[in-house]
Amino acid sequence: MPRTKLTKGGSNKRARENVAELEDLLRDFDIEFDSNLQTMRRLHQKNLEDADNIIEGFKMELGNRILSLTMGDLKKMNSLNEIGLDKTVNNLNATIKETLKKVDEGYLTEEASNKSRLTSDSESGSTAKVSIIGPLKAHKSRRRSQSANNVPSSSQVVTPGPRAMISHLKMRTPLATLNADAMAGGFPSSHVSRSKFRTPLQKSTQPSKRAASADRVQTIIPKCNPTTPISILRHARVGEVAFSVTGSPIVPTSVVESTANVNIPVANGILSIRPQNLDPSTLNTSLLDKFDNGTIDHLRKLKANLDTLMAKFEEKNNARH
C-alpha cells in the first residue's frame, strides 16, 4: 500500500539556504555601504582641507602688511598699487628670472645631464633645448630619428617605463645588442627601439617573449609615500626600470647631484631651480606663463614648507648659541 513519502526536511533546507544566502547578501551590502560612506567622508575632509589651503595660500600671498590692515582701510583704497601688491608680484617675477639665468649660464655648460632640462635663453627670451618627458607622442617622434642615427646619447633624459625592459628580452639584432651594451657600459640610453630588421618567422618557431608591461609586473608596494611634503627619495640606478605608482612624472638623472635643487614640471618640460643667486632684472617673464594654477598652488605650499623648515633651523641655531 503506497504511503505519502516524507521528505527529509527538503523544503526546510532550501529555505534555510535561502535565508543564509540573503544574510550573506545583506552582509556584503552593508560592507559595501560602509566603505562607500567612509570614502565619502574622506573626500569631504579633503574638500575641507583644500578650501582651507586656498584661503591660507591667499593669506600668504597677501603678506603681513595687507593682512594687518582693517577691512575699512582696504575698502578706502583705489588700487592695488597703494598697498604694494604690484611690487610683490614684480619681485616674484624677478626672482624666478634670475634663477633661470643662473641655471642656464652655470650648471648647464658643466653638467651634460642638465642639458635636457628646460632652460631659457635670457636674452632672446626663447626656450631652448626642451627635454622630452611625458607625452608619449612627443617622445615617439624623437625616438624614431634616434634609432635611425643608432647612436646612444648620454645627454638624454631617461624616460623610464616598461619599454626599457625590452632590451633585455629582445636582443635579436645587432642594433638591440648595441643599445644593451651601451646601457651596460653606463650610457643611459633614452629608449630602446625595436629594430626594423626583425627576423621573419621567428614567431612560428618559438613562442614570442612577452614585453614588460605595467599590467604584468607583480604588485608594487610603495615603501614610502612620495606625496608627503618632504620626502627622501633616491635616484634611479642605471638600467633600472622605474614604475610610477602614483602616476606622477619622474625625473631620473644619470648623474647624482649633490646640491639641493627644485625641479618643477611645467608645460613642456621640467623647470629646475638651483641654489644660486637670482638677479631680478634678468628674469625671463615668458617662463611665468608656463605655470598653471595647480603648479602655482604647489609652489606656494612648497615655499611654506621650506619656510617652516628654515624657521626650525633658525630656532635650532639660536638655541645652540
Binding site: 551590502f29 591660507e56 595687507i66 575698502k75
Partner: protein, 156 residues
C-alpha cells in the same frame, strides 16, 4: 575697494565669478546682508535698523507678508524673530548665541583686519561645505536603507 583685472584670462574670470557667487551665498559681506532686508519694520534711526542688523551679522530670512521677521546670523546660523525697536542686534546676538565666532570678535566688518575677515571666511566656508555634505549624506543613507529593506523582504 580694489578691483582685480578680470580680462586677464577666462579661466581666472570664471573662478572669480564662482567666488563672487559663493560670497553672495554665504553673505560674508555686510552689503550683501543689507540687501536681504527689503521690507523691514524699523527705520534707520532705531536701534534695530537694517544697517545695525547687518553689522551684527544678521541677514533677513523671514517673510514680512506672513508676519515673519526672522533674521539669521551668517556665521552661527542662529535664527531670531520677534524683533522690537528697542532691541540691540549685538546684545540679542550675544544673548542667544554666545559661542558664535562673530559675536566673540564683536566688531563690525570695517573694524576687522583682513586676516580676521579671511579667517571668518574660512570658518563659514567650512560650515557651508559641511552642511552641504551632511544633506547629501543623509539622502544617501536614506536611499541605501530603503534598498536594504527591499532586499531583506525578498520572498524566496
Amino acid at each position: 575697494m580694489p578691483s582685480l583685472d578680470k580680462t586677464n584670462s577666462s579661466n581666472i574670470s570664471t573662478g572669480l565669478e564662482k567666488l563672487e557667487t559663493l560670497l553672495k551665498t554665504l553673505k560674508l559681506f555686510e552689503e550683501d546682508r543689507v540687501k536681504t532686508f527689503e521690507d523691514w519694520s524699523f527705520s534707520e534711526d532705531e536701534k534695530c535698523s537694517i544697517s545695525e542688523m547687518a553689522k551684527a551679522g544678521f541677514c533677513f530670512t523671514g517673510d514680512m507678508s506672513k508676519d515673519d521677521d526672522s533674521a539669521t546670523c551668517f556665521v552661527c546660523g542662529k535664527v531670531l524673530d520677534g524683533w522690537e525697536n528697542t532691541d540691540d542686534p549685538w546684545i540679542e546676538h550675544q544673548k542667544h548665541s554666545a559661542n558664535c565666532q562673530f559675536v566673540k570678535m564683536r566688531r563690525s566688518e570695517d573694524e576687522l583686519t583682513v586676516e580676521e575677515f579671511l579667517d571668518l571666511f574660512k570658518h563659514i566656508s567650512r560650515q557651508y561645505l559641511t552642511n552641504q555634505y551632511k544633506k547629501k549624506e543623509a539622502v544617501f543613507i536614506e536611499v541605501v536603507q530603503n534598498i536594504r529593506e527591499i532586499i531583506k523582504n525578498q520572498q524566496f
